[in-house]
């Protein structure tokens, strides 16, 4: 029974647990955390199971209600979706382990609805990833968007404003997507992705299709914060509570990227979007601008979380560029970078959260080297994450960059090559700025004696529940870097859509 339904189980289990939390945790709030743990662990196990099954038997279609598409709704479990599911769920599990103490320590978050919303958001992510139906995707997009607004808004004082601005632009984005679906439905008469893919070649010259695709691209562009639509992101990530930003930053924008990829290549067709409409070219150019813009903005930030948020804008550009290159190497780079960026952003945001919890701030200019003495492991993890961000081998950051570089060269797009190389230098600037602060003695410090007092330098590492996930993520960056070929050859190469 589990094997025949495993394709649909991850969102369902997350949904079930999320819905039961308000009932079960009515009397005892601590249960909420354990339920979250159970739900995410199970979903991770099922994701692993799914990925192996997909590799064994190929694409799996799951029909809800037993109705065969296009009558009913289906879930599609192919290498791409199973891989994304795994990445998202594993990251979520690690971040949530970290959240054990942090959530209640930070501000006064009500843990019961908070954890329920976390699970709902994950359910939304999983639903989007697996969806084989355009409208079903919209519904789950809304689930995860709404819970994201909620999760962001309980942070600092400014958080509701950030969440509201995100809500406005997000609502416009998802409405655009819905409108796109509307045009697509009116023209093709179908909502199923596979079905639409088979119908669309007959309609390539219709203006409605062109408008539908642009609306959808704008919609997902907003969700993935690609360059001109990134406005909501920095505020939202900065003011959100630690757990939220560590959950949303690695996963939220990736979902937009995934949906973009899915819609462009698996619904409209590779040749159509790249050769006829040149939408991928536009995406690539916007991403390239975003890469540079995000990096430059990150350099000018003094708040660590804000810096990481801008660096997200730039890293999303990498993914968008990889999609926009529209060749196998670019796609491999993009998908690998989705995983890579998810891991390293989770790692970095968790470290920023750890600092915030212990120091009460995460202002780069107020950091000094006694934080390293106090928290050597956290800082080491941060270093690995930063190096991966810069693209230093053998971290996986180097390899995703390598594939992207190969992709740009394949297309002979030298400008993008230059952008990729320049951006890794810009990344180096803003990360080494932090590393200098964290590792080196302050050069001009008025209270040097105070800093050197033994009690100030005593080891004061965060609790193990907050430390272990960070370390796992950091180690994963190196291990996955060395083993990236297993992933690339085993899964990512199987995702490359026909016609690429």
């Amino acid at each position: 029974m589990i094997s025949s339904n495993s394709a649909a189980l991850t969102p369902l289990i997350l949904l079930f647990m999320a819905v039961s939390i308000p009932i079960v945790a009515l009397k005892k709030k601590q249960i909420a955390f354990f339920m979250v743990m159970i739900a995410t662990s199970i979903s991770v196990i099922i994701s692993f199971y799914n990925i192996f099954r997909v590799l064994k038997v190929g694409t799996i279609h799951y029909h809800f209600g037993g109705w065969i598409p296009p009558i009913g709704i289906e879930y599609v479990l192919d290498p791409l979706s199973s891989f994304m599911c795994l990445v998202i769920n594993v990251i979520a599990l690690l971040v949530l382990i970290h959240s054990k103490k942090i959530v209640e320590m930070e501000s006064k978050i009500k843990s019961v609805p908070y954890y329920a919303l976390v699970l709902l958001m994950l359910c939304g992510f999983n639903g989007i990833i697996l969806a084989g139906d355009l409208f079903n995707l919209y519904v789950f997009l809304e689930i995860c968007s709404l819970s994201m607004y909620g999760l962001i808004s309980v942070g600092e004082k400014q958080a509701p404003v950030a969440a509201f601005r995100y809500l406005i632009i997000g609502a416009v984005g998802s409405s655009f997507y819905l409108l796109g679906v509307g045009f697509l439905y009116i023209t093709t008469g179908s909502l199923n992705m596979v079905d639409v893919r088979s119908i669309i070649p007959h309609l390539y010259n219709e203006p409605t299709i062109i408008v539908a695709i642009s609306l959808m691209v704008i919609g997902f562009g907003i969700k993935m914060a690609v360059f001109p639509f990134h406005g909501w992101l920095p505020d939202a990530y900065t003011y959100a509570p630690t757990t939220s930003s560590a959950l949303i930053a690695p996963t939220g924008t990736k979902i937009g990227a995934y949906a973009m990829l899915r819609i462009l290549f698996f619904v409209f067709g590779v040749n159509y979007v790249s050769k006829t409409l040149h939408i991928t070219d536009i995406l690539a150019w916007l991403s390239a601008i975003g890469i540079i813009y995000g990096s430059i903005m990150a350099i000018s930030q003094k708040e660590m979380k804000r810096m990481l948020a801008y660096s997200s804008v730039s890293q999303i550009g990498y993914i968008g560029l990889g999609i926009g290159l529209c060749n196998p190497m670019g796609l491999i780079g993009a998908v690998l970078h989705v995983m890579n960026h998810a891991i390293m952003k989770a790692c970095l945001f968790l470290v920023a959260g750890n600092y915030r919890v212990k120091l009460g701030h995460s202002n780069i200019f107020k950091l000094s080297d006694n934080i390293r003495k106090k928290k050597p492991w956290t800082t080491a993890a941060f270093t690995v994450g930063a190096l991966s961000m810069v693209g230093i081998p053998p971290t996986v950051g180097f390899f995703s960059k390598w594939y992207l570089v190969l992709g740009t060269i394949k297309n002979s797009s030298w400008v993008f090559l230059a952008v990729l190389l320049i951006s890794s230098l810009l990344n180096a600037i803003y990360f080494f700025r932090v590393l200098e602060k964290v590792y080196l003695k302050p050069i001009r410090s008025t209270n040097l004696e105070e800093l050197n007092m033994p009690e100030n330098n005593k080891k004061d590492e965060v609790s193990s529940s907050a430390l272990i996930p960070v370390l796992i993520l950091a180690i994963a960056l190196i291990v996955l870097g060395l083993l990236n070929t297993i992933i690339v050859k085993g899964i990512i190469e199987k995702m490359i859509p026909a016609g690429m």
Partner: protein, 127 residues
């Protein structure tokens, strides 16, 4: 020409509403007005969908013994209606969340004007 106009003016009204809604959502400074814009935008999409489902001379999609089900032209297309039921609920939910956010913004800043809000946020940042 006239036929084309008659066949499309319904869409155009929906499009006009969309533009109105979008205008409100991105141009207005007041948060409530923005929300009204979003609501109009979402509603116009609903109108657009429902308009697409119509068929001249057809009846509501409820099974009728006298008509039978052999001829689909006798019932209007039920699928957009179903989708829009969902979209309505999504819209309502978005509005609920949005109002919750607005209230919590008002609790903290005592204003709903975006430009003032941004200034105060900046002030909070500097502290």
């Amino acid at each position: 020409m006239i036929d084309f106009f008659l066949g499309h003016y319904g869409y155009w009204f929906a499009i006009l509403l969309m533009c109105l809604g979008l205008y409100g959502a991105i141009m207005k400074k007041n948060l409530i007005k923005k929300l009204i814009g979003i609501a109009i935008f979402q509603t116009s999409i609903i109108i657009f969908f429902v308009a697409s489902s119509s068929k001249w001379g057809a009846t509501v999609p409820i099974f009728d013994e006298k008509i039978g089900v052999a001829n689909t032209a006798k019932y209007i297309n039920p699928l957009p209606h179903t989708l829009m039921l969902t979209a309505i609920v999504v819209g309502v939910a978005t509005m609920g969340v949005a109002f919750a956010l607005v209230i919590s913004i008002f609790q903290k800043y005592k204003t709903l004007d975006e430009s003032v809000l941004l200034k105060r946020m900046k002030k909070d940042n500097d502290i």
